[in-house]
Symmetry: C2
Subunit: 226 residues, 2 copies
DNA sequence: ACCTGAACACCGTTCAAGT
DNA sequence: ACCTGAACACCGTTCAAGT
């Protein structure tokens, strides 16, 4: 879906020189486009309202007639990115032949998302107290997150993977994936020498083994199945 | 000049009421104490240089004669906190009877560290390009981190836990622990209903199982050992 | 009705001036 | 020698004033 709408190159000047007034839709897109560019260049730190305004050819004050805050502007782009992420991993999830492959493919793509959107701001914290984000921005994010989880769940089902405790496994995987992404999008991983592919593969094998065979209380030591 | 450098308890007030001048050691402690209080109250966001200065009863400019930047002041406290963390978990690591217990105990304590120091700033990224942090601040952090890893390694050895690939397992565990801590110190975990003890226990069982039994390339399906 | 941009209330950091 | 605090260069955000 997104691909068609993104053909916003060479903005069409309906009016004369001053297309400005009236077209709020178009200006909103201009603002989002300028913000997207800044974000891609340097993450949340680079998302400067004055730069956004300059990029969208409006004044700083005008940005605030479209988005209540810098955080909200960010949230709008994040929601959009989650949908794109879903669309990216959908074919990969359908194609994966093992749960390990699935994990590696998803993690690989998630790295790009995290690099731009995941570092400084915790959007889910904003979602948690609902008052902070207007429903029209919160709802798409929640929906996209749900669809991503559904996608993974479906793929695991197709592969016949039986998780020990799916309810706990999903947030656990989500936290783990964030931890790995944080590790590898920062410079922290330079303190040891491992590459992302090595680590992603190792994590995939470890997690799949743990999530399909683990889960019994730690004391018992007979067989894995009685 | 002074041979007995370690006898710095109870700073001698050579001057009258204004002990201020001269005693740089003491003032450095004042600044760190003020910063520590602010940090405990609200994390990196609350670490405001003007507030630190006020708390230490010096001017804002003076802070910069002790620490080159806000980040460096933070780093000094972080290094200190890592040493305290090591001392906290040392007896727990010695007492743990299973690797799962070890993980839960360490993770539990780490949550407090992460809540204050781990959120906004990635110190390890600073460490990675060495020029950004002076050696006298970097060295204690690296040393503390090494001692913590050594502690965990020793405990695992005592318990007879054989990791599939210890070299990869350590950074993997570190990333995972950070991911879980981030999940539970933010508000994100409210989106599902699980408590920290439930999740910590689940993570412990999953990771121990995965790290002791996993690791083989995903295609082979015979026994765990040939 | 919609937009502008000066102004406000903050930051981290610097540096001439004081003692 | 050491400390001060005004000043600088930035922020996100607001709002009286323009069109």
């Amino acid at each position: 879906m997104n691909n068609v709408q993104n053909a916003t190159a060479a903005a069409p000047p309906k009016r004369r020189t001053r297309t400005r007034w009236g077209d709020r839709e178009g200006r909103r897109r201009d603002i989002l486009a300028a913000a997207r560019t800044l974000l891609a260049r340097g993450g949340y730190d680079r998302l400067n309202i004055r730069d956004v305004a300059r990029g969208a050819r409006v004044s700083a004050g005008t940005v605030y007639t479209y988005f209540a805050s810098r955080e909200e502007l960010f949230a709008a782009l994040y929601a959009e990115r989650l949908v794109a992420f879903h669309d990216e991993i959908a074919p990969l999830a359908a194609r994966a032949r093992t749960p390990e492959q699935l994990f590696v493919a998803v993690a690989e793509r998630y790295l790009d998302v995290y690099r731009v959107y995941g570092r400084e701001v915790n959007l889910w914290a904003m979602l948690a107290d609902a008052s902070r984000l207007p429903p029209e921005l919160a709802q798409p994010m929640i929906q996209a997150a749900g669809q991503i989880m559904g996608l993974v769940g479906t793929a695991l089902g197709r592969l016949g993977t039986r998780l020990v405790d799916a309810e706990l496994a999903i947030p656990f995987l989500w936290a783990t994936l964030n931890g790995l992404a944080d590790h590898f999008t920062g410079q922290r991983h330079r303190l040891h020498g491992f590459s992302w592919p090595d680590m992603a593969g190792f994590a995939a094998r470890t997690l799949v083994t743990g999530l399909t065979q683990g889960g019994a209380p730690p004391r018992r030591r007979k067989e894995r199945r009685r």
